[in-house]
Amino acid sequence: MALLNRDQLAKRISQEVKDGYVVNLGIGIPTLVANHIPAGMFVMLQSENGLLGIGPFPTKENVDADLINAGKQTITTVPGASYFSSADSFAMIRGGHVDLTVLGAMEVDQEGSIANWMVPGKLIKGMGGAMDLVAGAKRVIVAMQHRDKAGNSKILKKCTLPLTGQNCVHRVVTDMAVLDLSKEGFILKEFAPGPSIDDVKAATEAPLTIDPEVREIRF
């Protein structure tokens, strides 16, 4: 059963990005989304440490210690970029001025809640900006593997880990499927070219409503 690899997953999510969008991408698969934004589409990538307009990584000659992204990596800016303080950055995020955020998750549940910052009993590194992003972005998309390494579903009736946010996720894109959140829980919109609808159901702990227009993921 062929599942989407990380790059294909990112490519599918890139279809959610629209011209003129302000987008914040989290660490991991979400990062890869930027590689698939079509040329000619004007999109500004936000970095919560105070930049709107992330550009490519620098060449050796252009490295600037004063210019980093939220992952503390050296970066450059694109034309039209702007710098601002952290309070201004989170005013932008919390105030609904970011059109889309894409984040990774350890668990998502049918109430649209997400857990991605803490595993009790293990090391806690902190939530960073994730709680603000899920509370404030206009659209919240989760990019994740459908199951953990042991094969257990990460798409749950109820999250077991401490939450990052409650009732905030709009869409989940996994290596098996595209799921939308509704008042009735998860709706299966699309499935990966490999697995059948029954395979997706079997891999999902939460109940799934099958959209009448469900189809295979297209790129």
């Binding site: 890869l32 550009g55 004063d66 992952g71 050296t74 960073g128 603000d132 509370a135």
Partner: protein, 241 residues
């Protein structure tokens, strides 16, 4: 008026055991590295330190942790510091995890005379436990209290002798917000110019928020050097997996 101090040691004078100290910076970018080193050398203890991150082992706030000067950290993310982990797990260090935007707003509000505010961030999570949650216009918000400090330490690019500051690129981050929330705010800068030399249109933080200034040299350590590969298309500079 003289806000210009000769060096870091003079500029941090007055810090004492048990104080709440605020620090600007994100990761190692824009941290007040010279003030931190000078505070380390004072040997004071039982500090509450407010900073988005906790430095790395041996640099930034990591140095205050090494000398066991910190009783409590208020931060949003501390993943880059092994000693932090050890002190936290052994109970030697208390940590109050605060969402990054809430932390920035606590400082902004603290400096703006607003004692508390309602935010949607963290509703329904551990962060909201024990705090008032109020429904306003159909949505739930958690009451968060602002932060002020005995001292605030920040780093800026340029200052004039009144303390008007200009920051450079993303090294601005928390610094303007942190600066407003300190009873005494100490700015270390790369260059001090005469009053009148900074264009008023381009001042990022007015001098009213700054009590002490000194010029210093900066290591500006890079935490995560990432380059565009010399072959192939440049990739957008967002965090790699």
């Amino acid at each position: 008026m003289n806000k210009v101090y000769p060096n870091a040691a003079a500029a941090v004078a007055g810090v004492k055991d048990g104080m709440t100290l605020l620090f600007g910076g994100f990761g190692l970018c824009g941290i007040p590295e010279n003030s931190i080193a000078a505070i380390r050398d004072t040997g004071i203890k039982n500090l509450t330190c407010v900073s988005n991150n906790a430095g790395v082992d041996g640099f930034g706030l990591g140095q205050l942790l090494e000398k066991r000067m910190v009783k409590k950290m208020i931060s949003s993310y501390v993943g880059e510091n092994d000693l932090f982990e050890k002190l936290y797990l052994s109970g030697e260090l208390e940590v109050e995890f605060t969402p990054q935007g809430t932390l920035a707003e606590k400082l902004r509000a603290g400096g703006a005379g607003i004692p508390a505010f309602f935010t949607p961030t963290g509703v329904g999570t551990k962060v909201a436990e024990g705090k008032e949650v109020r429904e306003i216009k159909g949505r739930k918000y958690v009451l968060e209290h602002s932060i002020t400090g005995d001292f605030a330490f920040i780093k800026a690019w340029k200052a004039d002798k009144f303390g008007n500051l200009i920051f450079r690129k993303t090294s601005r981050n928390f610094s303007p917000n942190t600066a407003t929330a300190g009873r005494i705010t100490v700015a270390e800068v790369e260059e001090i110019v005469e009053i009148g030399e900074l264009d008023p249109e381009n001042v990022h933080l007015p001098g009213a928020y700054v009590q002490r200034i000194y010029a210093a040299k900066f290591e500006k350590r890079i935490e995560n050097l990432t380059l565009t590969p010399s072959t192939g298309d440049p990739k957008p500079g967002i965090s790699q997996p």
